[in-house]
């Protein structure tokens, strides 16, 4: 290419691309967009179409057709409604608990801890994020199982821990997704200029007033960015419920148990978390906090 000397001067392709920004852009973005839209978005679209199909009750084969049955069942079958509401509440609870832990931890890390403690904590928060999703579920199972670590540790106090149920599901989900909340919150708090804290205390504000009136309003975008993950990841999860929730069912459980038996119902039910997440993303985008992701 470097010794290319044709009539149009050296390096005709480079010269052409240099002049035509639009061609360059299409060249760059064409392939990735073909992949994401053509493969992923198209799959989601096909899923939506499948949601209108139905299954032959006798042969249990998927029949191509059009029915609103599947969508109607989401809003009429009591077990489906209660599962949707339960899942929504669990996801909100996980997000809430994450915020409650992340804000004090972030303030401590950013403003109080010494540099080496801060760095150590930052690494400590990030690493478990990568320690494996399934691995963490097993770990929580080991800790909270009947003869597990938790009951062993509390036995001298005469307390026995909770059995597998919704609280453990919330705890496990928080354990899984907490870093997604903690990191943006920490980053946001670190960016608050220190003189705001001084100004606040000069004007007579106590610690809590400062946190409530100065810190919180400034880190709301970070909390929203983090909550997109804690909320959406909890919303779609079902393995945590399966392994640490006893008989707890979530939306994901219904989708997973129907994917082979009745794909159209599974497809229709997939629209529920999509709807929740898209609404959440729209709201989050309006606040402009997605830039931080």
């Amino acid at each position: 290419m470097s010794t290319n000397t044709t009539k149009g001067g050296t390096k005709p392709i480079s010269a052409y691309l240099y002049k035509h920004a639009r061609v360059r852009l299409i060249g760059l973005i064409g392939l990735p967009m073909f992949w994401i839209v053509g493969v992923y978005i198209f799959s989601l679209f096909l899923l939506l179409i499948t949601a209108f199909w139905f299954v032959d009750p006798f042969t249990s084969k998927v029949i191509v057709g059009f029915t609103l049955e599947n969508f109607i069942s989401i809003f009429t079958v009591p077990a489906y409604i209660s599962t949707s509401i339960r899942t929504l509440l669990i996801a909100l609870a996980v997000t809430g608990v994450s915020v409650i832990f992340a804000v004090p931890l972030g303030i401590y890390m950013a403003k109080i801890a010494r540099p080496w403690v801060r760095n150590a904590l930052a690494v400590a928060i990030t690493l478990p994020l990568w320690a494996g999703y399934l691995v963490k579920i097993i770990a929580m199972r080991l800790v909270f199982t009947e003869q597990g670590f938790f009951n062993w540790a509390l036995a001298p106090l005469g307390i026995s821990g909770p059995t597998f149920s919704i609280p453990i599901v919330i705890l496990t989900l928080t354990y899984l997704w907490f870093p997604y909340m903690a990191l943006p919150v920490f980053t946001a708090i670190r960016q608050i200029p220190p003189n705001l804290f001084d100004a606040s205390s000069d004007m007579g504000a106590k610690g809590f007033t400062t946190i409530y009136r100065i810190v919180l309003p400034l880190i709301v975008p970070a909390i929203i960015a983090g909550s997109v993950f804690t909320f959406s990841l909890s919303l779609g999860d079902y393995l945590v419920a399966k392994f640490t929730g006893g008989s707890t069912q979530m939306i994901g459980s219904i989708i997973a148990s129907n994917i082979n038996l009745n794909p159209p119902v599974a497809a229709a039910f997939s629209m529920v978390p999509i709807a929740f997440v898209v609404i959440y993303l729209m709201v989050a985008r309006r606040t402009g906090s997605l830039e931080r992701m």
Binding site: N4, L44, L127, Y133, A139, F178, D237, L239
Partner: protein, 248 residues
């Protein structure tokens, strides 16, 4: 946060069949067993193949998107950004069901069996964002006049990319690719729905074993291996990113 993981790692050295606490006898029994057990080796190989394949695809696509979003202003830029994030923002079960539905209810009836490659396609889709984030963050801080200088000196686009641009974001590229690898290696929910019958990745194998009560201690061994294999790339990736940040 680390207590559960420690309990798990220690339990992989538990001599007894079933995980318990406190551990009575420590031994390498289950480690030796796992090292020679064929299904585990096959699953490990599958995991590595899938993670490598999807990382390569994600690395190329993620870098392309990063360049497009960095260098150009165009209509729908925000949407492109959202599209890249979407595969990890939507729950795994939805992504998995969407792919599974496309493979089984559309491609198979049309006579096209995607099989093993389906897993790689699905994994690559949600790995793109990892490479994109890293490369994009680096490109934003790069000096565009270097590229112009290179063009002024007569270098073609490819030459400029190879000699000027790429060396500047190489570490971010590698860091992003390593994260993508770790993400794919660890993924289970999408894999459940996209793996062809009879094919296990390591997390999938763990999942199947978890539903049986007997070999709990082997599961702990494999889980420890998964922790290590996903942590090592992340560790290297963070070192790379930090070294570059400090160098600037």
């Amino acid at each position: 946060m680390y207590v559960p993981l420690l309990v798990l790692i220690l339990n992989s050295f538990n001599q007894s069949n079933i995980s318990s606490w406190p551990i009575e006898t420590f031994s390498f029994t289950w480690w030796e067993f796992a090292a020679t057990y064929q299904p585990i080796r096959t699953a490990l190989l599958n995991s590595i193949i899938v993670a490598t394949g999807s990382t390569i695809i994600a690395a190329i696509l993620g870098t392309l998107v990063a360049f497009a979003l960095k260098g150009y202003e165009f209509f729908g830029k925000g949407t492109v950004n959202l599209l890249v994030v979407l595969p990890i923002a939507l729950p795994g079960v939805v992504t998995g069901v969407a792919f599974s539905n496309t493979y089984n209810n559309f491609l198979s009836p049309a006579g096209f069996n995607i099989g093993y490659f389906g897993m790689i396609v699905a994994h690559a889709t949600f790995c793109i964002v990892m490479v994109f984030n890293n490369v994009f963050a680096r490109l934003k801080r790069m000096n565009p006049s270097l590229q112009e200088a290179s063009a002024d000196l007569g270098a073609g686009l490819w030459q400029t990319f190879r000699l000027v641009t790429f060396p500047q974001f190489r570490t971010a590229f590698v860091a992003g690719a390593l994260l993508a690898f770790a993400l794919s290696f660890d993924e289970v929910v999408v894999t459940i729905f996209t793996a062809p019958p009879g094919v296990d990745t390591l997390p999938l194998w763990i999942l199947k074993e978890m539903s049986r009560p007997n070999q709990a201690s082997v599961v702990n061994v494999v889980a420890t291996v998964v922790i290590l294999i996903s942590l090592i790339p992340v560790f290297i990736s963070q070192r790379l990113t930090r070294a570059q940040d400090e160098g600037k």
